[in-house]
Symmetry: C4
Subunit: 254 residues, 4 copies
Amino acid sequence: MLETLIVKKTKPKKLRSPVLVTGLPGIGLIGQVVGRYMVEELKAKKIANLVSPHFPHQVFMTKRGGIRIIKNSFYLFKGKKRDLVFLLGDIQAMSSPGQYEVSGKIIDYCKELRIKEVITVGGYSTGQMVEEKRLFGVATSDKLRKKFGKMGVIFGEAKGSIVGAAGLLPAIAKINGLDGSCIMGETHGSYIDTAAAKQIVVLLSKYLGVPVNLKRLNERAKESQKILKKVQEEVQNAMEQQEEATSRNVSYIR
Amino acid sequence: MLETLIVKKTKPKKLRSPVLVTGLPGIGLIGQVVGRYMVEELKAKKIANLVSPHFPHQVFMTKRGGIRIIKNSFYLFKGKKRDLVFLLGDIQAMSSPGQYEVSGKIIDYCKELRIKEVITVGGYSTGQMVEEKRLFGVATSDKLRKKFGKMGVIFGEAKGSIVGAAGLLPAIAKINGLDGSCIMGETHGSYIDTAAAKQIVVLLSKYLGVPVNLKRLNERAKESQKILKKVQEEVQNAMEQQEEATSRNVSYIR
Amino acid sequence: MLETLIVKKTKPKKLRSPVLVTGLPGIGLIGQVVGRYMVEELKAKKIANLVSPHFPHQVFMTKRGGIRIIKNSFYLFKGKKRDLVFLLGDIQAMSSPGQYEVSGKIIDYCKELRIKEVITVGGYSTGQMVEEKRLFGVATSDKLRKKFGKMGVIFGEAKGSIVGAAGLLPAIAKINGLDGSCIMGETHGSYIDTAAAKQIVVLLSKYLGVPVNLKRLNERAKESQKILKKVQEEVQNAMEQQEEATSRNVSYIR
Amino acid sequence: MLETLIVKKTKPKKLRSPVLVTGLPGIGLIGQVVGRYMVEELKAKKIANLVSPHFPHQVFMTKRGGIRIIKNSFYLFKGKKRDLVFLLGDIQAMSSPGQYEVSGKIIDYCKELRIKEVITVGGYSTGQMVEEKRLFGVATSDKLRKKFGKMGVIFGEAKGSIVGAAGLLPAIAKINGLDGSCIMGETHGSYIDTAAAKQIVVLLSKYLGVPVNLKRLNERAKESQKILKKVQEEVQNAMEQQEEATSRNVSYIR
């Protein structure tokens, strides 16, 4: 496996103005919570997995004695107006070249599915607790800024940079002739923020024309956090074992 | 050499339900001891070597003045029911992308040989000494879980993740339509565990339908350990020399 | 995105003895100030962007709510005698292999545009303050050394090595049959040097046969510095966040 | 430039049993001194350069105002019996994958020139001063061991591993059907060893059937050392500047 690979389970045909919505780990876990919740509520179906040499070289043992490779996954929901493709995953690529490779492969797959619009979801860390959480956005076109702006997303106020797939995906989308935006929930940054996630679910539900019930969000957010924490611990353990092994002279002889 | 390379010595034809069994270095040296012992007892013949840019850039000097590149090797045993291909080696790739590349090349080779099943052998480190050692397993299909389960392998109890080829090989096997499992001997983790290795040899001997005499296992395990230790020391020395050179301003000018 | 990519906005045809002039960040910010100033004064038009997996994996949020990927850009000025292509950018590749890849792609693009000459602009750090700043040069041919020499550029006195694109571009140009030179302004090295930049603008303006008004240079240099500083801070912040995340066990899970 | 590149100046035809002899930097500078001395004494002609993304991303300024990219070079000497190709260079690749890539490209070039034998020259560091210096060897075939053995080279006594091109080249040669050997002069290891170099020149001169006068070797060895030292300092300086820049927040913005 020399390159990031998208393993397709089915080849969906004739999607109606399909859009990609990503829910990858990041600030305040907002993207992941939003993505996972919508996939579960909408009962979206898995259509593909993404595996990559830029993910850690370890696999998880499942409760029933199976093997789970570290991966991202695509899910399809056939909506009334638009078809939605969600991208979920517990991890992002571990290096800059890896991040570019993975994002590029995702956009290639979008083009294959004739997706013309990419929405990433993230958090905008302010380091402060606020009561009224705002939604910030950046987008690759005036049209998107207008559409999201009308729904209350604030453009032009968030400052600085967006690290990882949440920023790279819309940027590489644009290079490939797709439109892209990143919707960020205002958040403290160091804990899981379900309030911000909820706001984004409401926004996307409206924007995408799909009804999403919010009542299970809090409990599911906890699950997301649990899963992510486990993944993090596993990866961390493996790294520590390897470091310890190195110090005991048994280094990369695993 | 831009990519991992499999150097074939012969092209075996028409293997009968061939299976790959790996014996690479890892926890408690179990995989390596099991693999090497079975290859020697069964007098399996070497059919290919694997060299990789992700192995250390050094070669070993042999006792008779030869050069041994760092490599993994494939051995073939023509069994009565099934043909067995073993993968042995003193080292695994040194980076995540390297691990994925090497595992991918191994599975490509399996497909070339029409291998449909991959079994990796490893250790499950508990940090404790136990009298009754258990065998844990993970597998990519119910069929395998059932088959190994009947022979006493415990599925669904081992927790956490498997680092390196022992985990990646069955996972990448699955992506390519092959079945895979990883059999782990319960072990303390910080010393060579011949008791656990013995149990796995007994299991595999039965599972694969080949008779393997156990009486030489203890002494051969010591040899395995000696070889691995030498490899580790050499690689470590080379790394230290390079570090020392760096500090003396002669850095990567080797 | 597996490789550095040049995204063309237009395909300029029949350029007249075109030359590439680079203005990338480096010692004393001289190259960047010179390049950006000439592009703005000459109102050169953007013809292509260069994006690379060897740039940091983050994007900038713009004031109007847009997304700016980290990139280098090519600008074309149709001169009376020669057509000039400028290369600007806030960053260079982050690793040696990345530097070679990016420089190679730039020279490939030069060949596509039938550019036969490459001029890079940099600073020659002396660690000293001098009143009379000299211009030093290196070049791949006697012809260039003669031409620049007549205009006061000193060849054969600068010692040591040139790091990054300022050195690699003319060197790789030569391998590909193009001529190349690097013009360096004598500078202290640790602050932005507009005096040195001014001298090089005067030189290039004469050498390339384009009139460039100098009066806005000082103020624009400040802008350049502001932009670069912002870029640096953003990249630095992202790196620190990632490091901090690593220490809090949330590592490459962004 | 995505890969190591061999830039050919001429395409030598019909070489007579050609052999590659390498003189790259390494222990005691022995290889480099031997190679450079033989090239100069035999007045071998440069036939190709090798540049690589795995070399440092910097160029040297020459005394006459030229640009020298970091490279290795091939030289051809048309002998009476055999044609000799020498490989010289101030540096080796900076990573394991880089070392494998460069060595692989060198062997590809050997095959193009129909070279069937590769001889690398290195030092065998004992950490001790000895009066009678021995020559140790490793080789890929009995034939070579016999031939060199008759001339006093000792096989089977040197222990451990050979790091870098001196070891990888004969090993990768063998994989490609070429013969290879590494001749090592016994040396203390931490200073330049012209006595050991002299012995190897005498050996190779006899083995290859070319007369080489030894009288200038001492003085030329000093030159070699001077050149290498300069290269090392430059690379080191560049690395330190980059590190310092990193600590001042201007990091990879060169």
